[in-house]
Amino acid sequence: MRLGKAALLGVAIAAAGLTVAASAQAQNEQFIPGLVYRTGAYAPNGIPFANGVADYYALVNERDGGINGVKILYEECDTGYATDRGVECYERLKNKGPTGAAYFNPLSTGITFALTEKAPVDKIPIISMGYGRSESRDGSVFQWNFPLLGTYWSAADIIMQHIGLKEGGFDKLKGKKIALVYHDSPYGKEPIALLEQRAKMHGFEFMPLPVTHPGVEQKATWLQIRQKRPDYVLLWGWGIMNSTAIKEAVAVGYPREKIFGVWWSGAEPDVRPAEGGAKGYQAAMLQHGAGQFGVHAALKKYLYDKGKGVAKWEETDEVLYNRGLVNAMLGVESIRTAMKKYGNKPMTGEQVRWGIEHLDLSAARLKELGFEGMLQPLKVTCADHEGTRAGRIQQWDGKKWVVVSDWYQSDDKVIKPMVDAAAKKYAAEKKLPVRDCSKES
């Protein structure tokens, strides 16, 4: 027994020593947390995204020795896409590293909603790339939220523009029926406001059809679609809900060419399980699509040739892996932007927030980073936390995603008044101070 206690004491001392050594070494590290889901119902979509993020940080460390000499310290926490676990992960990771968490990517609209109230208190920015609250692009109210590259209102608007173009003009939508099959969660409900607005403007009938988590039971939904025969179906699903929706569409004989998914319903795990049935299905693109670009050559040279990549090499051209790369790159470049003002040392969340708000990626810089062909230039400002709202439409040809449209820009004449109204309402409800963006530099 005494021996056991002595051994325990030894272990404790050794552990304490290691911790001291580790923290001494960690002084020049930038801590970045990763809220991921590699297990649970949404893992098929969570894994490739998490792999892309992890690989990009590893690439920056391997190739450049970190961001301007500051190494990235990255730690994952598995949320299982559950909001409560997401908040728990946030609390556990927010103070890690010499300067705390640089920013959070919640990868869940539910978790983003929950963290939106915590972020201003802890002074940690939230990058919700392609998801989250649509009105949070208004930086005068949502100082700490950055729905970079596009909100759900932008996504829905881009799909509606594409449908309008196919029909020969928005006026041709009068009398048509457009259904929305959505994940019954904050995520799935986001586009409803925009679609209702568009329905009012163009006189089409809007049919919202909820699907409960995790979305494996959709028979009732698709029987309704069969009975009411909408002209188009928009799909706002995630994880297995997407492939199930396509399978049910096959089962009721609804043409896949008339189904349009959001960019979270347009990756390989969404269509592959439906096999041949998914052919013809279309989805919006969060700018980038599948395929390999300049950055992949660097990944091969610095990680995969050395056996250091997290994914399998042949999976690194998939949509969600690429999205992980883009997400990580935007974070790293924001930190780099912040360092220009505050110096080459680990940044605090507050400094990173300034960096994101002044992020300005030109075409030349994107090319330099290896993201040419994946992204269009973007510039974030105090008033516009989205940075850009461009998108395209892609179609699954049975084997791969093919880009089938030109670039669309979501229509700010429709969206901006909605954002202003919603943000104003939020600020009043939460009694938040509103910044005057014209006075910000």
């Binding site: 590699r38 297990t39 649970g40 119902a41 893992a43 098929p44 894994i47 019954d184 919202p208 909820p210 699907v211 409960t212 995790p214 979305g215 494996v216 039971e217 028979k219 009732a220 939904t221 029987l223 309704q224 069969r226 009975q227 994880g239 297995i240 492939s243 199930t244 399978k247 096959v250 089962a251 009721v252 004989g253 795990p269 592959r272 399980p273 439906a274 096999e275 049935g277 399998k312 042949e314 999976e315």
Partner: protein, 374 residues
């Protein structure tokens, strides 16, 4: 109006049969041991994952050789165990040659068969029949492990303790299955027709839509129910199972081995899980969410009674039809009448339906009436 109503009813009934399949596994174990097996959903997922991964041939995502070797080794070991068990029975009845040598020989034989299988199919996907056989063996072994490692140590404990133990098994299986086989969406191809059938097209505009895959699933479920009914009523083991269910102590006193009975019951429940997993997997793709289907079996059990095989079937049909009809016809009325925010009602409606039934029949539709004297 009649057309859509009938179509929804048929779709709901067929989905209900699939719920019944999962509920059956619960009923079997509860009937024979009084344990509410929370791990049934996890067993469905585990079985489906195993079949899907052994038959997997999606390009670029094929399994490594080691998985096939492990599966083949398990298949061989299971064969060896069965042979050993049969041999021991034989030896017990009459005198025979040295048992140990025979055991070693048989185990080696089983391993050899496993090795041959691994070699023959190691480089690619297994044919469905072989994957099913291997998975059935694995489910048998799993039942053995559960009985040996968990249940045996908990004999004579409260029901709630056993229930908690199955909670642990459920979490273990969920995690272990995904660690071993991965958590992507995998497919099981039974070669079922995917395009819908339309009935009575001359009576209803557009006809009544029926999903052929679900019809097939309903057929399998019907066969399973008949087999299980015969098994329970006509065979010696079945009678022993019923005796154990009625009274553990009395059954043991007349020489029915409790441990063997539990092993058999868990194996049968494992096989039912396999059937449910393969059918659900073929319909939805195999992924973690399959284990959540078990939650759909709960209202079925509440409604049908925990101890009745026909109850699980009828309960499944009522829940399946009830939730689909409510989602399509009741939800819009509720939303309009009470100015609700909207949202799917089928998930909670199934439970409400079951609770309403409980008000009138606390033991469920076909459950045994509990009379206890104080």
């Amino acid at each position: 109006m009649l057309g859509p109503f009938l179509e929804t009813l048929i779709g709901g009934l067929l989905t209900g049969v699939l719920y019944s399949l999962v509920a059956l596994g619960f009923v079997l174990i509860f009937k024979a041991s009084g344990v509410f097996n929370f791990a049934q959903g996890a067993m469905v997922l585990f079985a489906a994952l195993t079949v899907a991964r052994l038959t997997d041939e999606i390009d670029g995502k094929a399994l490594g050789l080691e998985h096939f070797v492990i599966a083949a080794a398990i298949l061989g070991a299971a064969l060896a165990l069965i042979a050993w068990y049969a041999w021991r029975e034989y030896v017990a009845r009459g005198s025979g040659p040295d048992q140990r040598r025979k055991l070693a020989l048989l185990a080696a034989g089983g391993a050899l068969i496993g090795g041959v299988v691994a070699f023959a199919y190691g480089k690619g996907a297994w044919p469905l029949w072989l994957a099913l056989a291997a998975t059935a063996s694995i489910m048998g072994l799993l039942a053995y492990a559960i009985e040996r490692l968990v249940l045996r140590h908990l004999v004579n404990q409260e029901g709630i303790i056993l229930f908690m133990a199955t909670l642990g098994i459920a979490n273990f299986l969920d995690g272990f299955g995904q660690t071993l086989w991965g958590s992507d969406i995998y497919t099981i191809n039974l070669g079922l027709p995917k395009n819908p059938i339309f009935l009575f097209e001359e009576v209803f505009p557009g006809g009544l839509l029926v999903d052929p895959a679900e019809l097939f699933a309903a057929g399998i479920a019907a066969v399973l129910v008949i087999v299980l009914a015969v098994f329970f009523q006509k065979t010696r083991v079945g009678r022993a199972l019923r005796a154990v269910a009625d009274d553990h102590a009395a059954a043991q006193s007349v020489g029915i081995p409790l441990n063997t009975i539990w092993l058999i019951v868990w194996t049968v429940a494992g096989l039912v899980a396999l059937a449910a997993g393969v059918i659900w997997g073929a319909k939805l793709g195999v992924q973690f969410s399959i284990s959540l289907i078990a939650l759909k079996a709960l209202p079925v059990l509440i409604l049908g009674g925990f101890t009745s095989v026909p109850g699980a079937i009828i309960g499944g049909l009522i829940i399946g039809a009830g939730e689909k009809l409510s989602e399509i016809f009741l939800a819009p009325i509720l939303v309009q009448a009470f100015d609700l925010a909207g949202g799917g009602i089928e998930n909670w409606f199934a439970y409400m339906l079951a609770l309403v039934f409980l008000l009138f029949r606390p033991q469920g539709l076909f459950g045994e009436r509990i009379i206890e004297r104080v």
